[in-house]
Amino acid sequence: MVQRLAGHFSVEESAKRIRHYRYAEERMMRVMGGWIALTPELGAKLLFGRHVWDCAQHADLWGKRLPELRAPAQVSEPPNDAFVRFMDLVESPEGFGQTPQRLVGIYGVLKPHLLATYEHHLAHANQVYEPPTRRILQRVIEDERRHIAAGRAILTHLLRDDGARRRAHAWEERLHALLAEAGGVSGDGLSHLAVPEIPPDAADVAGDLVELEKPVGQWPLPPDLEAALATHALSLARGNLAAVAEDLAPEFRSAGEEFYRSALATGFERHAVVGAAKIGSHRQIKLRLESRQGAVVLLSRWAQRDGRWRVVEAEVVRTEPA
């Protein structure tokens, strides 16, 4: 019976660890909340949206446990400066094209580390006098498993080519190195704990995985507009400005010729319609044009003029270097 009362953590140590957990959960909640607006991919955006609330609840559960351990409620405390630097690095990718890095930081490094740490803590928390902590650990472990599976599914979807996978891997290595320097979330060197196996259980993940952006296929456009767009895109790809000019509405001809001459100086190798919106009978068409120099996303408004579709407005909405 004596062994059943053996424990690994004192009350003070337990409270300290919990403040460290709370720091990680609270900071993660705030960072993901801030990223939602900066993340273009709908699947990742909605995933952050769902997990912000779970992380908030984790931080809250830890924060409410603190007074039961003779410590002030709802206090976060990082284990050391290196862990703060680790979290700063996790937070740092905020660019338009950096969603994979954001996902890697949370679902590839931080959450797996928290899961491993929580599992380790649960295995060592006394079953007789630490059930309140154990209950919280069981809850957060279950959530973290689900989060990681959902995050990995979206990450796999986004890492479509070798270059992206290489960049993601390099980012992961960099984060792991800083996490090891910090000694993990508890600061006691447990950053090396093996991450438990997480099967990509579709049933569990379904609640988190909302929608992966669909590959651009056939847009529901009128057939004659589709044909006009195909010809237009081909003219753009070939740099045939005289042919492009034929597609311009009379009222846009002069400004349009100037626009296409300056904005699309080089030819393009690939093109695709990536967006199509309606305003009454007009159509706003987004064309993505790719060359070795990079990509241009062009937005043009098409309307019927003299029985055929013509461009009445156009602008470049984004350029991407190669």
């Binding site: 939602i36 609330w53 908030a56 967006g275 305003i279 009454g280 987004k286 909405v317």
Partner: protein, 251 residues
């Protein structure tokens, strides 16, 4: 990350077409169309649902920014805002599914960012007053009317889904009232500025007389007085809103 971020940092996939609200209205009027979907046809309902979907998306983004932008606000405030982020993320999903139910697709109509701009106030009290009371109050009006129209045309999927969202929105307005009071306690100047911000949003979203007191079929957006009472708006506030709709300038 910057606190707050610039308006134009709002990130979207390419399938979204972003435009200024004013320009969309101009192009519709040039074509002899009503400036806002009048709910008189399935296509018009679909356009309204698309508009709501992007509104929910921006509401989620706005609430997420509030979680990030105000780390020194009370913890319970962060909890309420995090809960709102989750609610809005589910609302986005609901409206994406409703769009599919109506044979539409994400990006079928332009997105305007007028809601997002309102969600970028620098003061937390102004943000909850403007977003939770101004915009979520507007959401109560719009959803209440949509539930009614769905019931009338015999579309229980639309009716039930939107009714659950309406219940959430009422909760968000209550949160807004609670935090407007808590954050401005003992600071009447801050409270005054926050309320003025909310009123400027109310005025803007009267949409040049589109939002009015009246029967659901008779006005483009009818003010949901009962839902607003449930959400905690006072009789005086509801009366003031109705009064402002009678003097809003053309959008």
């Amino acid at each position: 990350m910057d606190r707050p971020i610039a308006y134009d940092k709002l990130a979207r996939e390419d399938r979204f077409v972003r435009m200024r609200a004013r320009r969309v209205v101009e192009l519709k009027l040039e074509q002899g169309l009503p400036p806002f979907p009048d709910l008189a046809s399935r296509e018009s309902i679909k356009e309204r649902v698309h508009g709501i979907m992007v509104g929910e998306l921006q509401a989620m983004e706005g609430a997420g920014r509030t979680v990030y932008d105000f780390p020194d606000a009370p913890w319970e405030f962060a909890m309420d805002m995090a809960r709102q982020v989750w609610d809005e993320s589910r609302h986005v999903e609901i409206y994406i599914r409703l769009l599919e139910h109506l044979d539409g697709y994400v990006g079928e109509f332009p997105e305007t960012t007028i809601l997002w701009r309102c969600a970028c106030a620098e003061d937390a009290a102004a943000r909850v007053a403007g977003v939770n009371r101004g915009l979520e109050g507007l959401a109560c009006d719009v959803f209440n009317q949509l539930v009614h129209i769905a019931r009338k045309i015999g579309d229980p999927i639309l009716e039930h889904a939107v009714d659950f969202v309406l219940a959430d929105e009422i909760t968000h307005v209550r949160m807004g009232s609670k935090w407007l009071n808590a954050l401005t306690e003992g600071d009447p100047e801050r409270r005054k500025r926050a309320i003025e911000f909310q009123e400027s949003i109310d005025e803007r979203f009267n949409l040049g007389g589109m939002r009015r007191e009246g029967e659901h079929e008779d006005v483009p957006i009818s003010i949901a007085t009962e839902a607003r009472r449930l959400a905690g708006f006072t009789e005086e506030e509801i009366a003031r809103l109705i009064k402002t709709t009678q003097r809003s300038s053309v959008y």
